[in-house]
């Protein structure tokens, strides 16, 4: 049997990635509030999106279903994962659900199911389902205001049109990333549950499988806010490029 002593983390040195993730989360919240009126106006008009043919704004705007109704432990877990905002802001600002399921909702459901593998009832399971459902709303939010945004590299306005299928892929990637965070929070509380560890491994695998497609997806999304949402949520090599170079602040928001 190997004998080694695992080092203690030096005091006062939390992982830098944690700080970058916090900044990225804050940027999402900032952008939501910056563009909430613009989004509400577009939703109220119910006009077709100029740059995403076929997308139904009224469906994109629906708040996520209350999947974890009454499950306070699931909500507490989302808070532990730093994802209270991720769930609460769509619940607060999303429109009344008409029980219409669009492509983005289906993508979110599929993403959650691929990780949970029929596990249900546990707090972490409900929290993963909730975080995934919220992913559809966040992607939808930025899709609705996308035509007013800028290209993520050039910062030039008027990014080109986008196929709704790319938004579905974005939802899947974002849902997997957020599910990974939820599961990590649950595991930090206790790693005794084999089903929880298995779900986390499935989330990691989903991230590995998605990584090769991310550059193409980001190229297609093109617009800064959608790109930031996807690129800082997914677990991939470019996750915090935005911050690693000393940039990430002062850009067009």
């Amino acid at each position: 049997m190997t004998s080694l002593t695992l080092p203690p983390r030096p005091p006062g040195s939390p992982p830098l990635a944690d700080a970058w993730q916090t900044l990225a989360d804050g940027l999402l919240t900032q952008r939501l509030h910056l563009h909430l009126d613009e989004w509400r106006a577009a939703v109220a008009e119910e006009k077709a999106l100029p740059d995403v043919p076929g997308a139904d704004v009224s469906v994109l705007a629906q708040r996520p279903s209350l999947l974890a109704a009454g499950d306070e432990s699931a909500m507490a877990l989302l808070e532990d994962a730093g994802l209270g905002f991720w769930w609460q802001l769509p619940r607060q600002h999303g429109t009344e659900s008409r029980n219409q399921r669009g492509a983005l909702h289906r993508a979110a459901d599929t993403a959650a199911q691929s990780i949970l593998a029929e596990q249900s009832g546990a707090a972490w399971s409900n929290a993963v389902a909730s975080a995934s459902a919220a992913a559809a709303w966040w992607v939808g939010f930025f899709a609705v205001i996308r035509h007013r945004g800028v290209h993520h590299i050039t910062l030039e306005p008027h990014p080109g049109p986008l196929h709704e299928q790319a938004l579905g892929t974005a939802v899947s990637v974002v849902a997997h990333g957020m599910a990974t965070r939820v599961l990590e929070a649950a595991l930090r509380d206790s790693d005794d549950d084999p089903a929880l560890r298995a779900a986390y491994c499935r989330a990691i695998e989903a991230g590995i499988c998605a990584e090769p497609e991310l550059p193409r997806l980001i190229d297609e999304l093109a617009e800064l806010r959608l790109v930031d949402l996807v690129s800082t949520t997914a677990r991939w090599r470019g996750r915090f490029t935005k911050y690693a170079g000393g940039t990430g602040a002062g850009q067009v928001e």
């Binding site: 002593t5 990691i204 695998e205």
Partner: protein, 228 residues
Amino acid sequence: MNHRYPFIVIEGLDGTGKTTLRKGLFRLWEGLYGVTPLCVLTTNFLAAEQAAAIVTGKYQPNAGNRDAYLSAIAADKRATLDRLVLPQRPARPVIADRWLLSELAFFAVKHGMRASETYETLAAHLTAAPDLTLVLDLETDASMSRAQARQGDAVRADWDVHDVQSRVRETYEAVVTKPDEFPLLGDVVRLDARRPRSEVLLAAWDVLRERQLVPPIAARTEGGETHG
């Protein structure tokens, strides 16, 4: 007290999922334990004067360059240990995609050398063993089928063929069944690579947990306990 993180080696035939497991363990350590591992390869070209011998010996192996190649990879591994593995282990785990076992198989298949003979030569240069060698085990047909299905992988006609891969697997088998004769492999654990990738990762994680090679979750920010 000598605090350090584990040195983990992943071995297996082409197509058994070494890269996926390496990425998975990397993400596990970084995401859950908050420590970013260093990933290295079996040769890292750190002994510059040996680089040509490594390339020639690997891709154009013959009796004339055998000893130079063995000497070169021994020097490269020594440099990898001295410059990467040992300095980094106080701060992060090190994960190697192949290490000693692959070299033993190469010299057995290409040069007919006994694994023990190759081992003795390499061991004379190496100062540290991995804590764990994970061997991804998969039937040769299945591993070759997987490897050939991948995009962008170079296929070597003198290596990625059934006969050669079968002999490589036989060498793996012969070595891992005698762990006492090859202590510089560390603890050797075979993982069934027929399973889905997430289950292989879970199995590897369980091995790390059982051997206390990952920090206790509750002590993530405290650590420092002795495990053994």
